[in-house]
Symmetry: C4
Subunit: 233 residues, 4 copies
C-alpha cells in the first residue's frame, strides 16, 4: 500500500540527519496521497538509522492509523490539519533545528535580510503566537495545526510562497509540493535563521532587504518568467 510514497517519505526523513537538522529523533516528515486521502508519516521516536519504508505509518486525514505496526509521529494531528486546509501541500516537515528553533524560542519573525531568504520565502518567516493553556490542554497537536492554518489565512499569505513558519517556544514547520521540497525549505529556513542572527550581531540597526530586491529574487526563481535553473526541473 502506497509503496512509492513510503519510499519517498522515508528518503525525505533520512535527509533530516544528513542536513544536520535533527538530534536523536527530533523531527519528522510526512507526504500525502491526495487521491486516496491518506498520509504517510514517520513513526514516533524511532531512530533515523533504523528507518525503512516499511516502518512508515499510513493514516487517514483525521490521523487514524490505517496501516503500520508503530505509532505515528506525535505531531500527526498537526500534519493532517495542514493537509486538510491546504490542498497545494504535498509534504510537511517538523524539526528542532537549532537556529530556527532559537528564533522560535525568541518569539520573533525572521526578517528577510537578503537574497538567500528571498529566493525561497516571500517576506518574513512568521513566528506564530504560543498556544493558550486551553488550546494546549484540549488538543495540543491538532491546535498547533489549526493555529498555522488560521494565522496564514488571517495574514493572507500563501503557503507555497511562505513555505514555513515558527511556533513560539517550540520550533519550525515547513512544507512544499512534496516531501523532498519540504525538507529543502527546512534547510533554507535553518540557514536563513543562522545568518539573520549573525546579521543582527554585525549590525544591530539592520533593516530588511529592499522590497524590489526581494521581488526580483523570488520571481526569478518562482515567478511566471522564472529563469533560474534548468527547464522542467
Amino acid at each position: 500500500m502506497l509503496e512509492e510514497l513510503k519510499q519517498e517519505v522515508c528518503a525525505a526523513n533520512l535527509l533530516l540527519p544528513a542536513y544536520h537538522l535533527v538530534t536523536f529523533t527530533w523531527g519528522n516528515v510526512s507526504g500525502i496521497d491526495r487521491e486516496k486521502g491518506l498520509m504517510v508519516i514517520k513513526p514516533s521516536g524511532v531512530p533515523y538509522e533504523e528507518l525503512t519504508p516499511e516502518k512508515m505509518v499510513v493514516t487517514d486525514l483525521e490521523g487514524n492509523v490505517v496501516e503500520g505496526d508503530l505509532n505515528p509521529s506525535s505531531d500527526t494531528k498537526t500534519h493532517v490539519e495542514l493537509y486538510k486546509a491546504f490542498p497545494e501541500l504535498g509534504g510537511i516537515v517538523h524539526t528542532h533545528s537549532p537556529n530556527a528553533t532559537s528564533w522560535a524560542q525568541a518569539g520573533r519573525d525572521i526578517p528577510c535580510y537578503g537574497t538567500t531568504h528571498a529566493d525561497y520565502f516571500y517576506g518574513p518567516i512568521p513566528c506564530l503566537r504560543v498556544l493558550t493553556a486551553e488550546e494546549i490542554e484540549a488538543d495540543y497537536e491538532r491546535n498547533t495545526g489549526l493555529l498555522i492554518v488560521n494565522e496564514f489565512r488571517r495574514m493572507n499569505r500563501k503557503m507555497l510562497e511562505v513555505p514555513g513558519c515558527l511556533c513560539t517556544n517550540h520550533g519550525p514547520f515547513s512544507w512544499g509540493k512534496n516531501p523532498k521540497e519540504a525538507v529543502h525549505n527546512a534547510v533554507v529556513m535553518e540557514v536563513c535563521a543562522e545568518m539573520a542572527t549573525k546579521t543582527e550581531l554585525i549590525n544591530p540597526k539592520v533593516q530588511p532587504a529592499p522590497q524590489c530586491l526581494q521581488d526580483k529574487h523570488y520571481m526569478r526563481k518562482h515567478g511566471p518568467n522564472a529563469y533560474y535553473g534548468q527547464k522542467k526541473q
Copy 2:
C-alpha cells in the same frame, strides 16, 4: 566481573566523542550494579580511541578500586556520592561540552525557553554555586558530589525530572536510569545550552516558555499518560 556493565559503560563513553561532547579525554561515564554495590567507570586520562571494556575500572561506593589496572576517573568520588544518595540513578556523565560549560562558566541556570528543553528537563537546568576554598581543599571531587546532592534536596527537585546540572566555573554533570540515557541527557543539555545562548542574542528580553507548555511536553514524554514514542521503548 561485571562484563555486561563494563561493555555498557565502555559503549556509553564512546558516545561522548561520537556526539562531539568531548575534546581529548575531557569526560567520563559510569554505571552501577545496585545489587553488588559496585560502580564501573572510565579510567583516568585514557584516550577514547584506546578504550575497551577490559580497561573499565570497578570501584566500590567509596571509590576504592575493586578491579582494574588503571586509575579510575579523577571524578570518581563525585560519581559515588550521587549513586549513594539517589538510588534511582543508573548512569552518570561528566563532560566539558562547550555550550553547557559556557553556561557553567557564566554561572547561570539555563532557562527553559522551549519544548526541546521541556521534553527532557522539567524546569531550568540549575547552575550550582562554586565550592568554597575549604571544600576544594578538603576533598574536592567528593564535595562536588555532595554539593549536587544537597542542592537538589534543598531545591526539592527530583533527579530524574532534572537529569543534569551545571557546576559554576567547571561544567555539566548529567545522569539517567542507565549510562546510555545519561549520555542522551548530556547531549540534550548541550543542545539546549547552545540554543539558549542564541535565543538571548536574538531577543535579549525573552522570557521562559509558559509553564503549561513545559508541562505538556514533559508529560507527553514522561508523565503517566505519555504518548510519545513506541510502547515499551
Copy 3:
C-alpha cells in the same frame, strides 16, 4: 572545446561544497580563455554531486551560450562584466557562504582586524551599495557586475589586491588569476568574516590592525620581495 578549462572550472566548482561554502546549488565558479574570448561557467541549479566537465557551459563575453545543453548560471552576466573590465581576472566565484553573506546582509565592509585578512586582502573588504529599483528591474545581473566594476574604479582599488567584495543584501563575489585561486579567496573571505564577527563581540571597540602590520603581511606574500612559500609556487 576548451576541455582543459572545463575540467579546471568543474574542479573549482567542486571545491565549494568541499570547503563548506555552499548549501544546495548556491554558488558558481567560472574561468576564462582570454585568447578565444570565451568563458566557462557552472550550469544553473545543477547539484554539485552531478557536475561533470561536460556539463560546463561555454559562453561568449556577452553571456550568449556558445556550447552546452544546459542554461548557464543565472549570474552569468555578472561574471562577464567583470572579465570584460579587468583583463587580470582568470576566475570568478559567487557563493552564499554564511559568514560573508551575514556581513553583506548587514551592509558593512569587513575591517582588516589581523594578519589572516592582510595576507590576502589589502585593506577592508568592501561592501557595495544595494542596486536601485531601476537597476534591478532593467538588467539585474549585468548591473551587479557593472556596480562592482564602477565601484572598484571609483575607490581606486586593484582587483587582485582586493580579490573580493560583498554586495549588500546579497552575498560575496571573489576572483583571482584562475578559478582555483578565486575559490581560495572565497574561503579566506568566509574565514575572515567569521573572525571579524567574533572579534567585535569580544571587543566592541576594536580598531583595524595597524597599517604597517597590514603592509608587512600583504607584502611578504604578494610584494616584489615576497618570501612566503616556495619559489614558483
Copy 4:
C-alpha cells in the same frame, strides 16, 4: 639526519588539520634536538596533504637551513628565538585557529573562566602588544619571538605553566615539552577561546574563576602531587 624528530614534527603538523586548527597552510609546528642544537620545522606554504617527514626542514638556531630542499616556515625566526631563550621548550606551534585568533584580533587576554582552562593554563592567556612599525620593519618574525621572550620574563610567568599566548592582530602561539604537547595546548587554547567568548555573551559581567579553583585544577594535573591520568603517562 634527525629522522625520528622529522617524523615527530611531521605527525604533529598533521594534527593541525585533524583538530581543525588550520585552513590551507596557515600553521606550522617545529621540534628541537637540544643536543645537536638543530630545529626541525614545516616547509613554508606546503599543503598538509603533501607533507612527509622528508620534506621537513632542518635549521640551526639562527634559522639557517642545514638540510632540506624547501624554504622553512616564514615564522622560523620566531621559533628559534623561543627555543634559544627557554631550554624547557621541545615543540612550538603557530596557527590562525579562528577563536584564538579572534581574541588576538580583539587585543584581549583570555581570562580563566573555568577548569577547562585551569587544567592547562595557569592564569589568563596573555595577549601581547602589537609590534611597533620599527620592529615590524627591521626583522618582523625575529622580533615577534623576542617580544614573547621579553614579555614572559617581564610578567614573570613560566613558559610551561602558561604554554601559549596571543599576538595582537595576528594569532596564537603555543608550546610544550615536545611537538605533540605543543599541538595539544593549541587545541586547548582554541577551545578555551571559544568558550570564553560564549561565557561573556551569556553573562557580560562574569568574573574569572576563583583562584583556589584554578590552583586545584592546575595542581591536580601538573603539581608535585598530581593525580589525574595514569602514572608515567
